[in-house]
């Protein structure tokens, strides 16, 4: 389906405001992404290009760069989250359950929500059978954790025009792929509707660090600029601030301090809480329905 068939254009101005529970005005949604970079393929991202720029297979240097995130960076991020009492949504390639079971187990032990992120870090367009990969990903994570994921992020947020229909059939209740609003929105599928939670490509370490090459302290600088504006606006209507972290980017020594002070400063404000996707969804399913019925 064409995206506008799923969700007509609607300006945020003039929409009836949603209401968060008493005392809450802004919800931070921390998202921690765990990926599997298959050595047999070109790497999902690169920090270093080979001499003369020729792509190479296997790409050991960039594979190792990502692997560092799983061996070291993740644990550094986990410490920060635990110190600040944050339960992020963990979006993971299902294959991570097979290759890094100790990492997934640590997330489950911490009580973190697991959200499905396809099987490995390959765009949805490149899959031969999208539906089969979606089902398989959901099944693997369900089997490993005992719970079927409620949410989904596509690798690189990619979708085809059919992805949402398959996701709905597979039991996905919310996605983070649609960065088009400051509030959750309900989108149509050929099966049951799905909720798109407000995610963004602004406070997103891949965009900021790997693609736009900002200095490490901009992690904090941009996040605080973003927060300041949303916090002021949250006096009038609830605001949500997703923050996307990848262990190979945000978990490195020169960035981690900026990650920690960002979350600490944001969460020290009155009326600001950190919720995972599942919790935002539950709130919206009740509150959104009440607003739409009104």
């Amino acid at each position: 389906m064409h995206p506008r068939e799923r969700l007509p254009y609607s300006p945020i101005e003039g929409r009836a405001p949603l209401r968060l529970p008493k005392g809450v005005r802004l919800v931070v949604w921390p998202v921690l992404a765990l990926e599997e970079w298959d050595m047999g393929r070109p790497m999902a991202r690169m920090v270093i290009s080979p001499p003369q720029g020729q792509p190479m297979l296997p790409d050991h240097p960039n594979w190792s760069w990502h692997e560092y995130g799983m061996r070291v960076g993740f644990w550094r991020l986990r410490k920060v989250m635990q110190k600040l009492n944050i339960n992020p949504t963990v979006t993971l390639n299902a294959r991570v359950c097979e290759t890094y079971p100790s990492v997934v187990k640590a997330c489950i032990d911490s009580g973190w929500e697991l959200n499905a992120h396809s099987y490995d870090q390959v765009p949805m367009h490149k899959l031969d059978d999208e539906r089969a990969v979606i089902d398989k990903s959901m099944d693997i994570i369900e089997k490993f954790s005992g719970r079927r994921p409620r949410g989904w992020f596509g690798p690189g947020l990619t979708q085809t025009f059919d992805t949402l229909d398959y996701l709905s059939e597979a039991g996905v209740e919310y996605i983070g792929d649609w960065v088009l609003d400051d509030e959750p929105v309900t989108i149509e599928t050929r099966h049951k509707p799905i909720v798109a939670l407000p995610y963004n490509f602004e406070i997103h370490d891949i965009v900021m660090m790997a693609l736009q090459h900002h200095p490490s302290d901009e992690w904090h600088g941009r996040a605080m600029d973003h927060f300041d504006v949303l916090y002021a606006e949250s006096a009038e209507r609830p605001k949500f601030m997703a923050v996307a972290c990848h262990p190979y980017l945000s978990g490195v020594p020169h960035r981690i301090a900026h990650v920690e002070r960002t979350f600490a400063e944001i969460l020290s404000h009155d009326g600001v809480v950190a919720w995972d996707g599942s919790k935002i969804l539950d709130w919206y399913l009740t509150e959104g329905r009440m607003r739409d019925a009104a």
Partner: protein, 301 residues
């Protein structure tokens, strides 16, 4: 130097001769003002079945998969949320707005158009879709359709034009003049308006900017948000200085999906907190600049 001439249209220097800004007769603004600032908001509709005009996130391992829903959503955010954040700044500082708008966007985002009609913004033709003018099948039809859809929605035919991505063919200014446009802003070659020859009547070019433009600064050069403010102030202070004796024009150009993001919007606001109260600076629309220049500037040759 002589360059081979195109079979249709003209080379740039056949439209206007080189001219040093310091050697011209001084231009005077009303009431002793030194300079004009015009602020342009670009509203675009991106077709989800086509390649996106710009992207913020590339897919894993690169390439350009179709459809590109993530980047389509990113642009849609600008129209659902970002635009309204910028509009608040225009309202708070009473800045006369100018909107470059794709013809198709006029119908896609009626709330945006209505909000700007209510505020008496100027609407500028910006291609029927956000596609390079060199790739548009029928340039004249596109330019005409853009004017018609704007006239229908706003009651006024657009007087100005800015090509999508400032793109032109050799013939674009000729077609624009023939289709009744008074000015174009594609040529970022001066701090003052200039007359350009066409095969019919001349057309005015108004100073636009790739410098204080969020596409160039944020998406291509990857500066941090505060640099939009810093650069605008540096640009402003220098043009203000330069405008002693002869008026100059400064443009600021933004897109809701870029400057309307929360972390950037505050720096857009900060610019006007700083410069809006200057008494000898005029905040005008493109049409106001054109009318002034047509009255006081040199006549076209």
């Amino acid at each position: 130097m002589n360059f081979p001439k195109p079979s249709v249209g003209m080379l740039p220097n056949d439209r206007l001769d080189y001219s040093a800004i310091t050697k011209r007769k001084p231009l005077k603004l009303p009431k002793g003002a030194r300079m004009v600032v015009w602020t342009i908001t670009n509203v675009e509709e991106w077709d989800p079945t086509q390649t996106m005009p710009r992207t913020v996130l590339t897919p894993p391992a690169g390439g350009s998969p179709m459809p590109d829903i993530p980047n389509w959503c990113w642009h849609e955010y600008g129209n659902r949320v970002g635009f309204w954040r910028l509009l608040q700044v225009y309202d708070d500082f009473k800045i006369p707005g100018v909107m470059n708008v794709n013809g198709s966007a006029v119908n896609a985002f009626p709330d945006i158009v209505q909000a700007c009609v209510d505020r008496k913004w100027e609407f500028v033709g910006h291609g029927f879709t956000q596609r390079n003018m060199q790739k548009v099948e029928n340039e004249r039809a596109d330019i005409r359709k853009s004017a018609e859809v704007l006239e229908k929605a706003t009651g006024q035919r657009p007087r100005g034009w800015l090509g999508p991505g400032l793109t032109e063919t050799w013939e674009t200014p000729d077609i624009l003049a023939e289709e009744g446009y008074d000015y174009v802003a594609d040529w970022v070659l001066d701090d003052q308006p200039v007359w350009m020859k066409t095969r019919g009547k001349p057309i005015l070019n108004i100073p636009y900017t790739q410098e204080c433009n969020d596409v160039a600064m944020m998406l291509i050069q990857h500066h941090k948000a505060s640099e939009f403010y810093e650069r605008a102030m540096d640009q402003f202070e220098q043009i203000y200085k330069d405008a002693k004796g002869s008026a100059r024009v400064m443009a600021i150009s933004v897109h809701p999906y870029i400057m309307g993001a929360p972390h950037r919007a505050k720096y857009f606001r900060k610019i006007f907190e700083k410069i809006r109260k200057k008494r000898d600076v005029l905040f005008w629309t493109g049409s106001q600049i054109a009318d002034w220049y047509m009255k006081v500037g040199p006549k076209p040759q």
